[in-house]
């Protein structure tokens, strides 16, 4: 069904995460938000598959809903 993959696919997860954190180092919240937005657009263009993109947006939205609910409980 889903074109989106949920099994681990990043060769070096810790290295990727470290690079992401480093890119945000020293930025204001607004600058970080803009960096994330640019990253989304760049990654989306690498993916280039509409179905997968829409599924990823839905998955992210569903997941953030749970996180918000957890925080507020």
């Amino acid at each position: 069904m889903a074109a989106m993959r949920m099994d681990p696919n990043i060769p070096d997860p810790d290295g990727f995460y470290a690079a992401l954190v480093a890119a945000h180092q020293g930025l204001t919240d607004a600058q970080s938000a803009e960096l994330n937005a640019k990253l989304v657009f760049l990654l989306a263009n690498q993916l280039g598959d509409q179905t997968t993109l829409i599924e990823c947006i839905e998955a992210a939205a569903a997941s953030s809903g749970e996180a918000t609910a957890r925080r507020s409980s």
Partner: protein
């Protein structure tokens, strides 16, 4: 800073005033029965009246005003798209539009001084008409009125205000107020082209599902001689408009249309004050002389009627649908509504097609309006972010667009009006799409094009059979017209019409033996490979919504 604008001065236009003539119903107490009554003399109503006149069908147009244009000589809808221009070529006003208006095909979106997105619509164009002509709306309406008067089949009634409409199974009755008194008139079909605030629509209790949009603009028509490129320029965040959007379009008479996005909580009277508008123009144009022609605030809304037909009443143009203005999908779609409905009414009134054919108007044009609404709403949302997060996304897209081609397509200042494809139905199997006005050569060697060919056959389908095909099939197909079907057969090949550029065959995907059935509105109804007369008859019956059971027999 010096400038030559005249504060408070008027560089406005003198629009024609048409005399009120007491209608025969009042003058002579006649109780006439009209086949077609059109309410509203705007773009869509006048286009329909002109189209019907061309087809030899009488109509009455009722307009509550005595001139064209509204709000004085405001430029209003200014971008006329290729399909519209092809329709106007058929109706005989295209040459005047080309002469008076400004032809363009290049659009650019700027951020500050950098171009972040651009297009040239001419590149993919196969039509004799250009992608766009810009022209003040009142000129287009003026040309249509002139043409309608020339054709002489339409009773244009000015100062005739429709106050109520009722209908039975058999007829529609409109009550009309005039300077000479109130009267009723009766019609087989009434077309509501009375615009965004249609009282006919509300009189029937039909909900157009209006949504107001909290986006405010100030529209400025300004005359100057400075040579800016003849292109559509848009800014999402213009430094000279407090980082809000700006539109820059050339129009006729050295007048430019400059639209400035305003804060959503602005005071509309203040932002359109002449001195305030002139300060804004100086910030944009710099130290040049200009003359303010028209200035006014603008806000917009969406709506879409559930059904474009209500018994014997059809809704066309803004009465049926309103979308946000980006991409020129308002006026153009109203004109294309008229183009879709005109030939169907003509065939039904002449008993050459069943009333059922009229149902395809709603199926096709509501789908078009729905598509336009979605496309234009996405642009509106890009231009008016509704949260800080949305603003961040937009800033990121524009920033990336400066350096990376992939991001340029995300920058959305309007996806320009196209001839909408129609969903598949028995009348257009597999979906209908509009054929551009490609060049053709007539049997005598003279150059022509598809629009001219369609115009020459009146309200008939154009059938094009790609040679070689068996002679008995050709004669059998040609006999269909003699049997009363509205089809004129052309053979493409030696001795027939020549598709020398091969452009039409390429668009159709036609090969030897293919038959293309092209409707009077130049939408492709069907393409049949290795066609014989029986197949041609079958697709034509379907396109006309004739009883298919009878056809199979």
């Amino acid at each position: 800073m010096t400038q030559s604008s005249r504060p408070g001065g008027s560089a406005g236009y003198e629009l024609p005033v048409y005399p009120f003539v007491p209608p025969p119903e009042l003058a002579r107490g006649e109780r006439a029965h009209h086949p077609i009554v059109i309410v509203g003399g705007g773009l869509s109503g006048l286009t329909l009246a002109c189209d019907l006149a061309h087809r030899g069908i009488d109509s009455v147009v009722l307009d509550e005003d005595d001139t064209i244009g509204v709000r004085g000589a405001s430029s209003r809808g200014i971008c006329y798209a290729q399909k519209t221009l092809e329709i106007f070529a058929r109706l005989g006003i295209y040459d005047r539009m080309r002469e008076k208006g400004v032809t363009w095909s290049v659009g650019k979106t700027l951020s500050g001084r950098d171009v972040v997105y651009g297009f040239n619509l001419q590149v993919a164009s196969a039509s004799a008409q250009p992608p766009f002509i810009n022209l003040q709306q009142f000129y287009v309406e003026w040309f249509l009125v002139d043409r309608i008067r020339e054709l002489g089949r339409c009773d244009l009634r000015w100062k005739n205000k429709v106050v109520s409409v009722t209908q039975t199974d058999g007829e529609v009755t409109a009550t009309v107020e005039t300077p000479a008194g109130t009267y009723s008139l009766i019609a087989d079909w009434l077309i509501d082209a009375s615009g965004v605030n249609s009282r006919i629509r509300s009189g029937f209790g039909l909900d157009p599902h209006t949504s107001r949009i909290a986006d405010r603009w100030c529209i400025t028509d300004v005359r100057f001689k400075e040579r800016f490129p003849i292109e559509r320029w848009t800014w999402v965040e213009a430094p000279f408009n407090e980082n809000r959007a700006v539109w820059q379009h050339p129009m006729a008479d050295d007048v430019w249309r400059l639209d400035y996005q305003m804060p959503s909580d602005c005071d509309p009277d203040y932002v359109s004050r002449r001195d305030v508008a002139e300060d804004r123009l100086r910030a944009h144009l710099g130290d040049i002389g200009f003359e303010l022609v028209w200035v006014g605030p603008y806000e917009y809304r969406d709506h879409l009627l559930d059904e474009f037909r209500h018994g014997r009443v059809f809704f066309i143009g803004d009465a049926a649908h309103v979308v946000s203005p980006f991409g020129a999908r308002g006026g153009n779609s109203g004109i294309q509504d008229a183009d879709n409905l005109g030939w169907k009414l003509a065939l039904v009134l002449r008993n050459r097609a069943p009333v059922r054919l009229l149902e395809t108007y709603d199926a096709e044009r509501r789908a078009a309006a729905k598509e336009n609404l979605e496309v234009a709403s996405r642009t509106a949302r890009f231009l008016a972010p509704q949260s800080e997060a949305e603003r961040t996304l937009r800033r990121a897209a524009i920033d990336l667009a400066r350096d990376h081609p992939f991001a340029r397509v995300l920058v959305n200042t309007g996806r320009m009006s196209v001839a909408n494809p129609y969903p598949g139905s028995p009348a257009v199997a597999g979906g209908g799409w509009s054929l551009p006005n490609v060049p053709l050569t007539l049997p005598d060697g003279s150059p022509s094009d598809l629009v001219t060919l369609a115009r020459s056959v009146g309200t008939m389908f154009v059938g094009i059979l790609y040679a070689p095909a068996p002679e008995r099939d050709v004669s059998a197909m040609a006999r269909l017209e003699a049997e009363g079907l509205p089809l004129r057969l052309f053979v493409s090949g030696p001795g027939g019409i020549a598709d020398r550029s091969g452009r039409l065959a390429e668009l159709l995907g036609a090969t030897a033996g293919s038959f293309a059935l092209i409707r009077p509105d130049l939408y492709l109804a069907a393409l049949v490979a290795n066609a014989d007369a029986a197949q041609v008859q079958r697709v034509l019956h379907k396109a006309l919504c004739l009883d298919t059971a009878r056809v199979a027999a």
